[in-house]
Amino acid sequence: MSVILVFLLVIAGFAGWWLSHQRLMTKPWLEQGAAGDFVAFDRSGLPTAKIGLGVFLAVVGCLFALFTSAYFMRMALSDWQPLPMPRLLWLNTGMLVLSSIALQCASVAARKRQMDTVRLGLAAAGLTAIAFLVGQLMAWRDLTADGYFLASNPANSFFYLITGMHGLHIVGGLVGLSRTTAGAWNGARPERLRLSVELCAMYWHFLLFIWLAIFALLAGWAATFIDICRQLLT
């Protein structure tokens, strides 16, 4: 369970940092009057939707941290046989990186109100994300064809489970992305469009980060890395 505990420690760090700016040590019964008289208004200047997405991403991060924890605990048991990583995953990774870059471009363009670039970026991001999903499915098919079935070894089970869970999150993101894209073509209000493009970009970058982490995990580098760290410590 150490992975999830480290993750929660990071969350707790954020929460503690935020709380430390909330003047929790003050004596509220001594402070009367309108807020401004005593307190700089403490609501964040960020759009509410972004904060909402941020909280949601913390939950998603928690989910994958727990999968990782379970992965390491199950891995320690004797029947674990690592499975080979399909080469295709590298290509898929590339697709997802492209997708993130495209959304980042769209987001920059939305700030400058260059509608054509925004549309191009959104379309490119959507297509590459779909390409990623198709690639993942092909990787699954290749593995199954080679006899690495879901139930034949826990390493396989975790591979399908975690990649599947990540894929589902991409699918969910595509729903949001398609709404944004539709808005970009149908002439949504620029501020609104800008916000939703930024939200998509934020979500995409986070899922890219998750993907890189679980790719490292599934390929075994994460375990090797931890072993090295452990040896350095002892």
Partner: protein, 589 residues
Amino acid sequence: MVDITPADAVPPAEVAEMELYHPHSWWTKYVFSQDAKVIAIQYSATATAIGLVALVLSWLMRLQLGFPGTFDFITPEAYYQFITMHGMIMVIYLLTALFLGGFGNYLIPLMVGARDMVFPYVNMLSYWIYLLAVLVLVSSFFAPGGPTGAGWTLYPPQAIMTGTPGGQEWGIILMLVSLILFIIGFTMGGLNYVVTVLQGRTRGMTLMRLPLTVWGIFTATVMALLAFPALFVACVMMLLDRALGTSFFMPAVVEMGEQLQHNGGSPILFQHLFWFFGHPEVYIVALPAFGIVSDLISTHARKNIFGYRMMVWAIVGIGALSFVVWAHHMYVSGMHPYFGFFFATTTLIIAIPTAIKVYNWVLTLWRGDIHLTIPMLFAMAFIVTFVNGGLTGLFLGNVVVDVPLSDTMFVVAHFHMVMGVAPILVIFGAIYHWYPKVTGRMLNETLGRFHFWVTFVGAYLIFFPMHYIGLMGVPRRYAEMTDVTVMTESAHHLNSFISIMAFIVGFAQIVFLFNLIWSIRHGREAGGNPWRATTLEWQTPQTPPAHGNFGKELPIVYRWAYDYSVPGAKEDFIPQNMPGTFGPSREPA
């Protein structure tokens, strides 16, 4: 230190009205409503309905335990199905949903001075997914093989094997699917509760001016958002083990003389995931109760809550600590014995902030002006049962004391007292307290007092003696205790007594339900602020609050939530939105 900005320098964006969704038809107003108050009532009604099912299940269990062998239709199989569904419904579908979905939805926007939740559409979806989860759960009663009888902890391998009711049929699958749906639905609601507290607060509502109810619900929601994923992961993996033959949790096992295909999995892994959710879950239920009871005591004792700052820190501290105590549910699970030292220490440390909260509640009563209203009575009953249950927690948290007591009726008595009876008493108190705001009428006083006395005294008489049955060594989850030699004849009589008390207490709840329905029409008119309370929900222009909560202008908050009996003020309460300076040695505005 934070810079002090003058009031007129607050940028206009901060006080901008949020875009409010307006219903256009009867359907969108009362059924697919996006108004948090309607959603709150939907959540509460659904939770109460499914809670009644769980109440009936507990009666059936008590029939069997109190009068073994008398009721033939309660087979061991049926008993385990009752016990499982009772536990799961009460913990997840009733308590969690009612505190966060019900009270959270109703009170957060009103108490922080917002027009609604920040994402009303997602909030609506949250309820409908919750309802779907409940329906899936209920459907398992009608599935072939009936609901699962794996115990609410759903421990594998047992949960998905033939020897357990529903293990190789539909019961366990429907249970897992229902839990997964619940978690998805809850996450949608939880985002709303958290972000509304972060971003929806009205001008002047700093964190330290929030009522403790909001602090409790807010912290509990943050915890739930981080803890429920653990249950989600456990459910998904168990579903795969059950449906597709993977071996996440399933080791090689022999089932009724035949080898199963599973290999090498770890049942302990499930327990870690389950309790990583399960322990915070205790506080997900307890923290809202802590918060609400603080407000009830303060309002009805006409005195500010004693040590507000300590109360806030304790809530946050308990929330954080509760993530590092989960394995105290696993002292005798066969995990590495050295974990016992760590988890016993963390568990007993968490008793300190909890004790501080108790002291501050009773110290609030000291030199107060105690009105013995029904909410106040329930609040005091909560303190009795919570202190009792919390103290027996010190037995079970102390690893070596847990060894003889774990998995006995002592545990059952402990957790019913601390997270069954105590939070439910708070829920009752809270309903008597806020019902006038929700409906505009008071609940009937006579029926209310009857309900209080029967529930409080009855529940105490049920669960206090039960500890001693556990102390004798009688294990929990025994459909029949007749063969247990340590269970003496007199203890069987005690069991019958407990059962009879359970029926009486259950009956009182039906009186309460009648009161809830009857008083909507016939209750005494309450007026806007019958308890003369300070917090914002009592200052709305209409009662019940209209769509948008606060009329044309959002209130501005000038003070904390506990200005009761301030020296120099004429009334014994000063609403949060009343300007002006009162009291001794205050820094001027």
